[in-house]
Amino acid sequence: MPDNNPFPLPKDELLDAYRRMRTIREFEERLHVDFARGDIPGFVHLYAGEEAAAVGIMKHLWDGDHIASTHRGHGHCIAKGVDVVAMMKEIYGKKGGACEGKGGSMHIADLSKGMMGANGILGAGAPLVCGAALAAKYRAKQKGGPSDVAISFVGDGASNQGTFLESLNLAAVWNLPAIFVVENNGYAESTARDYGTAVDSYVDRAAGFGLPGITVDGTDFFAVYEAAGEVIRRAREGGGPSLLECKMVRFHGHFEGDAQTYRAKGELEDIRANRDCLQRFTQAILGAKAVSEAELQAIDRDVLGLIERAVAEAKAAPPPDAADLTTDVYVRY
């Protein structure tokens, strides 16, 4: 089927995108089940339903690019290449976790992959990304060629944090290779986006800081991919920061345990049925015969095996040692 590809990515890249999205989905759905069973400690915020944004953007990135994530960080981590087994161990608070069990779901990071951390503080990633982008700018000046970029993810609710808003201006003032992605899933916890954010259009919000803004359907992988490609290219070439809004849906509660009574009746069924980014992507690539069902099924098997192994290893892994309590505070003290 090599000729049946009307998409902007070659087949192997489509399959890779599928694999990443499917991995996120299965990772999250598995956590949903295991959390309900009481296996997982702490607060867990699931990214299921939002995969196209993380993957559509991250497909453009390399390891030298940085991202800063949110409390809802698993999808960004997986899309950026953080090891899935290490993530699962982290969520279980085990030795060998991405953060040796010290961070947990809300703090998974892997700086070797340019992943600057999920973050328990809304909006906090945006200033950090300005810094990573500044560092990238210095590197680019030295080595020439296209710059590394840095991308801050922020929810619709958190886009009202001063830290985020200040960062838009700073990135513009310093003309940083930074991108601010607003993941607009319509809710901040139980509160509808429209209650907490006075402006309808994030393009207007961006314009208020002198930044170009784009809004895309975040459940459409290709729409995200294309828009992200544009803003990332501009940033790499010294054209400065942008804001990218992805309109998306959250399949689960704000955090696990949320009864979601604030949703309209039938809303969850509706979004599962009609706004599933993974389903859309699958139908598109299958429909165009760019890939075969068998190829996707093979990936599905792989992914399920990986998740199964991740959970098994996470459960089997020993907890941190008592001595670990007091290490890793300082490089030297």
Binding site: G42, G93, G162, A192, R193, T261
Partner: protein, 338 residues
Amino acid sequence: MARKISMKMAINEAIDQEMTRDPTVIMMGEDIVGGAGGEGEKDAWGGVLGVTKGLYAKHPDKLLDTPLSESAYIGAAIGAAASGMRPIAELMFIDFMGVCFDQIFNQAAKFRYMFGGKAETPVVIRAMVGAGFRAAAQHSQMLTPIFTHIPGLKVVCPSTPYDTKGLLIQSIRDNDPVIFCEHKNLYGFEGDVPEKSYTVPLGEANVPREGKDVTIVAYGLMAHRALEAADLLAKDGIEAEVIDLRTLSPLDMDTVLESVEKTGRLVCVDEANPRCNIATDVSAQVAMNAFGALKAQIEMVAPPHVPVPFSPVLEDLYIPSGAQIADAARRTLAKGKT
């Protein structure tokens, strides 16, 4: 006083009664009602852990959901307090103070002094504190010492449902800014609470257990651990006196000093990190003002100088235990004059 309710319900009841009593009492915070702007249930959450659930139905005009902008809405509560209201602002987790601290420590705390005594800022900022929830480094801190350090703020951290209701009502009626710290791991803790409204004064410690051998000073969750320690010590025939500070600013040093005069031994317990915390504060004041009464070294028990770890095994090690407190008591009892 036979009715037992949880600390969570005690908070809810205190707010309800004060809103009923005083038209200027309003409350604002993130999802304190919940469901705003949506098509489903209104009053869907009552705060992230359901503490304010049901208040909206009773006081629909007085609970305001906010955008995720702590500086703006905590500041708004302060500004409203300076212009005639008596607002309660919920800072969901005290760990979020870093995005809005200026409004608290440079504005609310300093208005009265900077303006030559001509301002009153009767605001209450409620926030969850403490570890044990597996909520990791950014949702588990105490941070009480930081607020206690600041002149102009009052800081409250109760350990029982009874004290919680009485201190919260008192805090709402108080004319100074109060940081009201609620230990999230005590929300489910039940105790006797009168239905009627009552107050517990700020600046008065409680002595939940008397003893003559050693004084253990604590607050919040640590008051319970101190009582556990006293139980352990009792098995060895040691009579520990437990002081629950209840309010950290103002601080009831009289009760502490009196107790130390009696016991001659002091253990100060804090769930806050060890440097410049409440335990060092109380210890230092005793070393200055009751030195002569001390028979041996002061002992302090606090978590190590590390962020709160996520892993349950580490977090459990992080939080001072009754056994650690009892050991500290034994250490000071083992030394010095008798």
